[in-house]
């Protein structure tokens, strides 16, 4: 914890591993938000369509 973070250096890309890890987590959360069903959503959708 008291040491500087390691860096990924590939060409012009220079990013610390913790930052890259966090961006990866954000992409996973975003994908899950798109894919996971929202509680109660299906029932409401049908109700709206019926009316």
């Amino acid at each position: 914890m008291d040491q500087p973070a390691g860096y990924l250096h590939a060409g012009f890309i220079l990013i610390s591993w913790p930052n890259l890890f966090l961006i990866g987590i954000m992409l996973v959360i975003f994908a899950l938000a798109l894919l996971l069903p929202f509680p109660g959503h299906a029932a409401d959708d049908q109700t709206e369509k019926k009316s």
Partner: protein, 218 residues
């Protein structure tokens, strides 16, 4: 009598403001108890998580400001609230960026929602300035390191004389007073704009007024 009071309120700024607010922001829009069916997606939760994180940031920040730097660096409770402040800022930024991605891919500036989008952009910018002044207000070597490196970048923009990152009092004042007030006002304005215009429908779907009209016609 009513004609009389109508005549009296004509030309009144108060009455005009009240009329504008009643027309543009009725209570049904301000505090809706139902949302269109497309709001049933986790993507719409990102914005409210960002607001929840902001509430934690402000609450922990108030406690830090009450007790001061020595407390937040040396005592166990102080370190806890210091970490709470720092981590709620991380959550705030992560979910604000996720909210930005979601709204960008939905093109949420559609159908008269450009002001909502632009207020969001300004809020993003102000939050970066708030976080930056927060890093400078830590009162540790990290803050000094950031300040000494940042001064050259800030000076190169020409605003160094006005915005002096080496001036702790200025940075701390901005961080605990002016910028948070600006942030909260901007977020409130952003939410009011969303309430006024309604949540943006998915691309290709009818907007809320069209849906309401269609349901009424049926």
């Amino acid at each position: 009598m009513s004609t009389n009071s109508g005549d009296q309120s004509r030309g009144s700024w108060t009455a005009a403001t009240r009329g504008q607010l009643e027309r543009r922001l009725p209570w049904d829009n301000l505090l809706p108890d139902r949302q269109p069916y497309w709001v049933g997606s986790w993507v719409y939760v990102f914005g409210v998580v960002t607001i929840a994180a902001l509430a934690w940031v402000v609450a922990s920040g108030v406690i830090l400001a009450l007790f001061g730097p020595q407390w937040w660096h040396l005592s166990r409770a102080g370190r806890f609230f210091n970490s709470l402040h720092s981590w709620s800022v991380q959550v705030f930024f992560v979910f604000m960026v996720l909210h930005l991605w979601g709204q960008y891919f939905m093109a949420s500036w559609r159908e008269g929602r450009a002001p909502t989008w632009m207020i969001g952009v300004v809020t993003f910018g102000v939050s970066i300035a708030t976080a930056f002044t927060g890093y400078l207000s830590q009162q540790n070597f990290d803050a000094q390191w950031i300040a000494v490196n940042a001064k050259d970048a800030i000076n190169s923009t020409g605003v160094g004389g006005f915005f002096n990152v080496l001036n702790f009092g200025q940075m701390y004042g901005l961080h605990v007073m002016l910028l948070p007030i600006g942030m909260v006002l901007l977020v409130a304005l952003h939410v009011i704009q969303v309430r006024m215009k309604g949540v943006v429908p998915p691309i290709g779907r009818l907007s809320q007024p069209d849906v309401t009209r269609e349901m009424t016609e049926k």
